[in-house]
């Protein structure tokens, strides 16, 4: 297809998965399993290919814009809905497509799919993510937010034989819906004054306005839905519950791209609609506080887990906290670094979840303590796990390390000198926890943990009763391994391919360019030429910090493996922390009422943090 025709075909990225999903619903029960699997994987791959074409076009022409149903804007107003792909949204569309392809490849033949319905739900989920990433309209974003949600709740609760799965799905559903409704209330409030819903139109109207209470309240409410999706403290409770119980290939999508789409929603809506009205430093302050709190609490929770998927889920929350700090710098480099961080993280975390799924299929549980030494024969898996875990803690040359170092530098440059310290500490703690689990499971290092040991016996989810995603597998199927290898290789490639940093820096400039977005969406304006920017690439200092966090992660892993063998003095140092840990654990109670109460307190706190200094 020629470059000029690309905008016309942009909606296909959203429509094709829905249509194929319909086909699977209609005839899925009559087709043989390989055919439905092939159809689903083929569709996901085709969507990925389309997204790649759009990304290429967008990085040349700035943005790919299409107004659905042909309602082009006049006088900066329109009745239609635009789909707008700038490099960041097209990149996310590509990431979502690629991860769904890998997840479906992993599921090939093995994940129990009731007459093609698992594949159909995955495709609807894909459509929701693509729609959310590409939409240029507030209400339309809400619709696709809900589509993501509807498919995701069902996918979470799929293993109906598993008592925690259905509860996790329910909690996820209630929290996300509540967040969505508060967002919708915010949209209605904004609409009452401005009478438009498109992001570019609203951005044009709000530019250079003094923000009054209506704008701030609307902003805070709209953000709530996205922050719930992004699992920021104290909206994060649902994530660990949902990830712990969803089938592994679904976790890949949750951790790899859905949660990040929440962060994207925050960045997109702030940059295009509100950045002209709400001063930058207030937004930076609010989100840096939120991100730091999230990263800290989640890193501590991560270290406390023995349920492998729950452990990985808390590590995701901690990393999302760091992404948010990166985007909150509101600088080109911070944004570029955080975007690169997201992509690098997606590949590694996806690989780790799939490895956890393999363990579950082979050994019947995901409890780190029970799995001790069970998988010593799985050499290939052990290597992949070790590589992914070290990559997660920041080991170069994975793309994650590059993103992390660029973000650290930008955060420090914004005036938060403690930023790099936090980044290194959180990477070391979460990476250490992941490594600890791997060293126990694959290498039988450290003393054998007692099945009922730990600070909070009876107060935690162990993962011993988790129901497998598949029939018990004697050995790892080649399709599963292939999916994992592709993911790890992809994560490595983002750090090694020259020019990747440059591409992300250009993409970040497009995301933060409000005027350019509006001009190109509402008119036929050519994109502004890109500013020259400092190189986004490996630096000696960054590599040093990355190596440091990887080394510290190894240290953390070693310490917690051999905690029993430490001298009494060291134990005494940690004793005052015990009540804090117990309280922290108790707060994650799995009680829906608690979570809703925290959600409202969170909205109030966030609004106060953002709005009070402005009034």
């Amino acid at each position: 297809m020629s470059a000029g025709a690309v905008p016309h075909y942009l909606p296909l990225i959203i429509v094709i998965p829905v249509i194929v999903g319909c086909v699977l619903v209609a005839v899925g029960s009559y087709l043989p399993r390989p055919l439905t699997d092939f159809l689903a994987i083929g569709t996901a791959a085709a969507v990925t290919g389309l997204a790649a074409v759009v990304l290429t076009t967008a990085s040349h022409s700035g943005r790919v814009v299409t107004w659905t149903a042909g309602w082009r804007p006049a006088h900066r107003l329109s009745v239609g809905i635009p789909l707008i792909a700038d490099p960041v949204s097209a990149g996310l569309a590509l990431l979502a497509g690629a991860l769904v392809t890998c997840a479906l490849l992993y599921s090939w033949q093995y994940i129990q799919s009731v007459s093609g319905r698992f594949s159909a739900l995955m495709l609807f989920f894909l459509a929701g993510m693509e729609g959310f990433a590409l939409s240029g309209d507030l209400f339309d974003m809400f619709v696709f937010f809900e589509l993501m949600g509807a498919a995701a709740y069902a996918l979470t609760g799929m293993k109906i034989e598993d008592e925690s799965a259905v509860q996790g799905g329910l909690i996820f559903g209630v929290m996300n819906s509540l967040g969505g409704y508060l967002s919708l209330a915010g949209i209605a409030i904004l609409y009452s004054r401005y009478g438009q819903l498109g992001l570019p139109q609203l951005g044009a109207m709000l530019a250079h306005q003094r923000p009054d209470a209506l704008v701030i309240v609307a902003f805070a409410l709209i953000m709530t839905g996205f922050l719930v999706k992004a699992a920021m403290v104290p909206f994060h409770f649902w994530l660990a519950d949902a990830h712990a119980v969803a089938p592994s290939p679904v976790c890949v999508l949750f951790s790899g791209v859905m949660v990040e789409l929440g962060v994207y929603g925050v960045a997109r809506v702030y940059w295009t609609v509100f950045s002209g009205a709400i001063p930058h430093h207030d937004v930076t302050r609010a989100f840096v506080v939120l991100g730091a709190l999230t990263a800290g609490i989640a890193a501590a929770m991560c270290l406390l887990q023995r349920h492998l998927k729950r452990l990985l889920a808390y590590s995701t929350i901690a990393h999302v906290g760091l992404f948010v700090i990166g985007f909150a710098t509101l600088s080109d480099n911070g944004t570029a670094g955080a975007a690169l961080y997201v992509v690098g993280h997606a590949g590694l975390k996806a690989a780790l979840f799939l490895l956890a799924g393999v363990l579950l299929s082979k050994y019947g549980n995901v409890d780190e303590h029970r799995l001790y030494g069970r998988a010593t024969a799985d050499r290939v898996e052990a290597c992949l796990y070790l590589a992914a875990a070290l990559g997660l803690s920041g080991l170069p040359p994975f793309g994650l390390a590059l993103g992390k170092s660029v973000t650290e530098e930008a955060v420090a440059a914004t005036g938060y000198a403690w930023g790099p310290v936090l980044f290194v500490a959180v990477s070391a703690l979460t990476g250490g926890a992941v490594l600890r689990a791997g060293l126990r499971i694959y290498f039988a290092l450290g003393p054998r943990p007692a099945p009922e040991s730990g600070a909070g016996a009876g107060e935690e989810t162990t993962g011993a009763e988790e129901k497998p995603d598949t029939k018990t597998l004697p050995r790892t199927p080649i399709t599963m391994l292939a999916a994992i290898v592709v993911l790890v290789a992809g994560a490595l490639a983002t750090g090694l391919i020259p020019g990747v940093g440059q591409g992300f820096a250009d993409a970040a400039q497009r995301l933060t360019d409000r005027a350019g977005y509006i001009a190109q969406a509402l008119g036929h304006a050519r994109p502004a030429p890109l500013r020259r920017h400092p190189a986004v690439s490996w630096t000696a200092e960054g590599i040093g910090l990355d190596m440091l966090s990887a080394a510290l992660a190894l240290g953390v892993a070693g310490l917690s493996l051999y905690a029993q063998c430490l001298p009494e003095v060291l134990h005494r140092i940690f004793r005052p922390a015990r009540p804090v840990i117990v309280t922290l654990r108790r707060l994650h109670s799995g009680h829906i009422g608690d979570y809703v109460a925290w959600l409202f307190l969170g909205v109030a706190a966030f609004t106060a943090l953002l709005g009070l200094p402005l009034l």
Partner: protein, 115 residues
């Protein structure tokens, strides 16, 4: 009257959320969530209302004019109602399964997910 409708909407949202917080039954919590969402319908339609204006459906008797209430909020509310029905259905299905697996639908007694 100038803001009464808005306050009714906010009341419904908050009272629905309160229902979830103090709920002793997951089905009750799901229904409360539906009440919370109905607050958004009321808010949307209230935003688009105009005193004395007619429904935005023209016909042989009503000539096209601008003296109608906002059709856009109505379209949004329609979507919202579909979302409500479908989300409620999924959550009820999950609640039914929770009761089968754990033998209770009281959030205070559900213990599968902790820490």
């Amino acid at each position: 009257m100038t803001v009464y409708a808005y306050f009714v909407a906010a009341w419904l949202m908050l009272v629905g959320a309160y229902g979830i917080v103090r709920s002793r039954n997951l089905v009750h919590a799901v229904v409360s969530l539906a009440v919370c969402q109905s607050g958004t319908y009321v808010l949307l339609l209230a935003v688009g209302y105009q005193h004395g204006a007619l429904a935005p459906v023209f016909g042989s008797t009503i000539k096209p004019s601008r003296h109608v209430v906002d059709p856009v909020v109505q379209a949004m509310t329609l979507t919202d109602i579909v979302v409500s029905a479908t989300v409620t259905a999924l959550l009820l299905a999950l609640a039914v399964q929770v009761s089968k697996r754990q033998g209770t639908v009281d959030p205070d007694e559900l213990t599968a997910l902790k820490g």
